[in-house]
Symmetry: C2
Subunit: 105 residues, 2 copies
């Protein structure tokens, strides 16, 4: 039996106001690969749920959907859009940001 | 002052087990257009939150992210992927479906 590396992994950048997750995929991926992700940080356990999360990188919408829900406990979640040179807030428990705000990064 | 039509609208199909939302965009859209969407159904008010929601159509990931969070009160939310001929569940309060399940439609 061959050990295959996880097809979905992340590089994580811990900033003062947010955690940036860059998605790295070994294509093609399928939905079941969600159950074998590597380096998905546990931000609640790291005491970083009081900060935001920015998701970045190529990936199917359903993977983003899963991650957005997964990080719902965090202060806010935003999706980086290279066309906007920033991350669009999609959910927020913070008074600082509302959904649809663009955070330049 | 000219009345411009909303740039984000939806066609809605009410099925027995889920509500299918087909996104229709007048490109280009920007995050602020989230505040002026047309025909976004209020599924809680329609007593359809006990069913699932399937999102479909072309659209930026941040729009999907906003909608996925918006329909968090619903039983489950899935994203249609034409490559899979089905919708991938991204969040579920139901025992019938788990995240990463593919619902053929």
């Amino acid at each position: 039996m061959i050990n295959t590396p996880p097809k979905i992994s992340f590089s994580v950048q811990r900033e003062q106001e947010y955690t940036l997750l860059e998605i790295a995929l070994a294509n093609p991926i399928e939905p079941n690969d969600i159950h074998h992700m590597q380096n998905l940080p546990d931000l609640v356990n790291e005491n970083r749920a009081s900060l935001g999360v920015i998701l970045s990188g190529r990936g199917p919408i359903w993977l983003y959907g899963y991650l957005i829900h997964h990080y719902h406990p965090c202060m806010w979640v935003a999706v980086f859009d290279p066309k906007l040179n920033g991350a669009v807030v999609v959910q927020s428990h913070s008074e600082k940001y509302n959904a649809a705000d663009v955070i330049p990064i």
